[in-house]
């Protein structure tokens, strides 16, 4: 255990950039939910109407939590946000533990530290202590937000504690997984799988008898029922599980060598397949894993949104305040809802496209672009390789959402035609997504160093405009700078090709200009 305090200080120092954003994100989510819910369902009558609509809607229950939470307005907030924030907190803990344990060993940085006066278990202990502090902060922040927005203090503390408990379970789970796998990505994959299973189990349990929810760390948190009975003893379950997982992690780490895992990585191919012979195939090979993840994630999101599409009509009739959030108001409620959800999916597709396009810069700064460009690969095909993946990938991601939403929405309204309809609808948003990608290409050509920042600012800007323009009353030109503002809000509005063609032409011009810059500049700096 020698060296834990020093390591912990060092870890905190390194976390200054990333961790505060995660904490801020979780806090803002809860803050927005608490204020919105209290505004919409603050009266007993409104809450009663909500209970009637939602109490029998399995899709909403599957996405949220057990209906017992709807007993009070505080519980309603927990009902809506707990599962979602759980996922955020779990991922935060997963990456936190992963990057301070396995990723450090993988890069060899841990070797340097371990050669100093640092005990064998010290990096693991320090990482767990860091996670402990982080989850304490999560608990404190969320308690403060809930109590600060006027909810009872007791329930607020329990809510914070339950969320921290979810975080602790996933931190310790990652600590154990980091001993098993030789590389951090594989450990993340395993933990993400457990997280997915935890969500599905609690969804099935909450819809059914509730038994399956007890197999899920997210279920444990929800079944403390903050503001709806305040069952403190349930917290024993996650903390006992965390203690067990720490014991497993320590036992496993004693049995393995530094840098090794318990699972040997699978060997790769001795020869490249015939197709891996050009920059397009290379870019595809590098990004296919993350593309599959994004497509699966958006397909699931589509399934979830689609499943409640039909009940949205009833829901809005019961809760007229909701209509204000929908473009087009209470008329054509379902189409307005579908347009809103596809628009949000398009923002996520743009985020994928930006991440995919920025791989080019990552290749450059890591030095991996150099051997590629030293072959007969010109800069045009190098760029085109990554660009093709970003463009086709964002189309695929968006289409996956449209198909997912079409399938569940089609099932609820018994209309198979919804599948091609929503797939087509989602593609109407593609030109705007592509323009965001093209802006990244422009930055990569002329301003490579701040390209990543510029790309994410573009995504953030479009998101703010799309989601909040109405609430903030922004001047017209600020709105019009987002390509999403020019995209017809299908299926609510009619599809007019003229703006879409303009956006595609602008995207093509931006790509051409970006290439002109890339041709002229030094590579690798």
């Amino acid at each position: 255990m020698t060296g834990v305090p020093g390591l912990l200080r060092f870890m905190l120092r390194r976390e200054r950039a990333a961790l505060p954003w995660w904490l801020l994100g979780a806090t803002v989510l809860v803050l927005v939910q608490s204020t919105q819910s209290q505004e919409l369902y603050g009266t007993p009558e409104a809450l009663e109407r909500l209970r009637r609509t939602i109490g029998s809607n399995t899709a909403v229950i599957a996405m949220s939590g057990p209906t017992r939470l709807l007993d009070s307005i505080g519980g309603e907030v927990v009902f809506e946000i707990f599962a979602f924030v759980s996922v955020v907190v779990a991922l935060m803990n997963m990456f936190l533990i992963g990057r301070h344990t396995r990723a450090e060993e993988e890069t060899g940085r841990a070797e340097l530290l371990r050669s100093a006066r640092v005990g064998r278990q010290a990096p693991l202990a320090a990482a767990l202590a860091l996670a402990g502090l982080t989850n304490l902060a999560v608990g404190a922040l969320l308690t403060a937000v809930m109590a600060g927005t006027g909810l009872p203090v007791g329930g607020s503390v329990l809510f914070g504690a339950a969320m921290a408990a979810v975080g602790v379970v996933f931190a310790t789970l990652t600590a154990a997984a980091a001993q098993v796998f030789e590389n951090a990505r594989a450990a993340y994959g395993a933990v993400a799988l457990v997280l997915g299973a935890a969500f599905v189990l609690r969804a099935a349990g909450d819809v059914g008898s509730g038994a399956l929810s007890w197999a899920s760390p997210i279920g444990w948190g929800q079944r403390t029922f903050p503001f709806a009975g305040d069952r403190w003893w349930v917290l024993l379950v996650p903390f006992a599980a965390a203690a067990l997982l720490v014991a497993v992690a320590v036992a496993l780490s004693r049995r393995r060598d530094f840098g090794a895992g318990l699972v040997r990585p699978r060997p790769g191919r001795a020869h490249a397949t015939r197709s891996l012979s050009n920059p397009y195939a290379l870019a595809w090979r590098l990004q296919r894993g993350s593309l599959a993840g994004w497509a699966a994630g958006l397909a699931l999101l589509g399934v979830a949104y689609g499943s409640i599409g039909d009940s949205i009509q009833q829901y809005v009739e019961d809760n007229p305040e909701i209509a204000e959030f929908l473009p087009g108001g209470a008329a054509d409620v379902v189409d307005a809802y579908l347009a809103l959800t596809v628009g949000m999916a398009a923002l996520l597709a743009a985020a994928y496209g930006v991440a995919g396009m920025l791989r080019l810069r990552g290749e450059e700064t890591s030095g991996r672009a150099e051997p590629v460009l030293a072959t007969a690969t010109g800069r045009l095909s190098w760029l085109a390789g990554h660009l093709s993946v970003a463009l086709a990938g964002s189309a695929l991601v968006l289409l996956a959402f449209g198909l997912g939403e079409g399938v569940t929405y089609g099932l609820t309204v018994s209309d198979a035609g919804q599948v091609p309809r929503l797939a087509g609808v989602s593609l109407a948003y593609l030109p705007a997504v592509w323009l965001v990608v093209a802006v990244v290409v422009l930055a990569l050509g002329w301003l490579p160093r701040p390209a990543a920042v510029l790309g994410w600012v573009a995504v953030g800007y479009c998101s703010v405009i799309t989601l909040f323009a109405d609430s903030f009353d922004l001047p017209g030109w600020v709105r019009r700078a987002s390509p999403f503002a020019h995209t017809p809000q299908v299926p609510l509005a009619d599809l007019t090709p003229a703006p879409l063609i303009t956006i595609v032409v602008l995207a093509a011009l931006a790509v051409a200009a970006g290439y002109a810059g890339l041709r002229r500049r030094d590579v690798g700096y």
């Binding site: 790769g268 030095g367 150099e370 051997p371 072959t375 690798g524």
Partner: protein, 299 residues
Amino acid sequence: MTTSTEAISIAGLSKSFGRTKALDGLDLSVAAGEVHGFLGPNGSGKTTTIRVLLGLLRPDSGRVRLLGGDPWSDAVALHRRLAYVPGDVTLWPGISGGEVIDLIGRMRGGLDRRRRDELLERFDLDPRKKARTYSKGNRQKVALIAGLASDAELLLLDEPTSGLDPLMESVFQQCIQEVKEQGRTVLLSSHILAEVEALCDRMSIIRMGRTVESGTLTELRHLTRTSIAVETARPLDGLEELPGVHDMVLEDHHARFDVDTAQLDTVVRRLAPLGVRSLTSTPPTLEEMFLRHYGEVQP
């Protein structure tokens, strides 16, 4: 000097990054078919020069010709005729070594499958491992095999053996000998002097972005000092006044000193009448030449 027999010809090449002057009027000339050593301390501009030759960096000023073409504007066409091995090899973590070798080879325009497998054997590399699990030495081998498996007429090697063990170092030297026998050209940037001494026909030493020496090892030696240890019958005196004599350690009949190789003749004439009993003359090692150039204080 005709440009047609020159694989690389650089004159007055300058390149700055912001305020840092990486190259400051560098000259380099590599004849077709020779193995040319490219030497210089860390940060002297070797890698920058090679990146300019690869068309990754655009020169600020100076004339650069590579295989008769312009490395910036003819990059793709020229790259079909050359192979490059970086000194600090980073690979794609999830792709196996064998796949990387095939990919790089194919993107250059095809590789010799038989030669590739033979090199894998000689360098004792497991091509099935994912790149993230390779050690530094093994990553270096991947890049070396990818470069050597080609039949490119020019090899640009930037400290290609960093991280290799002595056994692999000797395999590398054999491979370069074979390349040389096939009449191909090699630019070898290296810190391993034994390697340069064994392989290179000519060499250039650069410092602070400028070429300070260029020539064969014999020519370079001529410009430096020879160490002499001598014992004579009559006392040795007055030697230190001779031009070109340095660092004299005198003990009446024994003397140890360095002499500028150009002045060797004068010194030996002066010694002869003193009745030489023993005399050892040591030509400067490459190490000594290096230390002299590398260690020189800024002019």
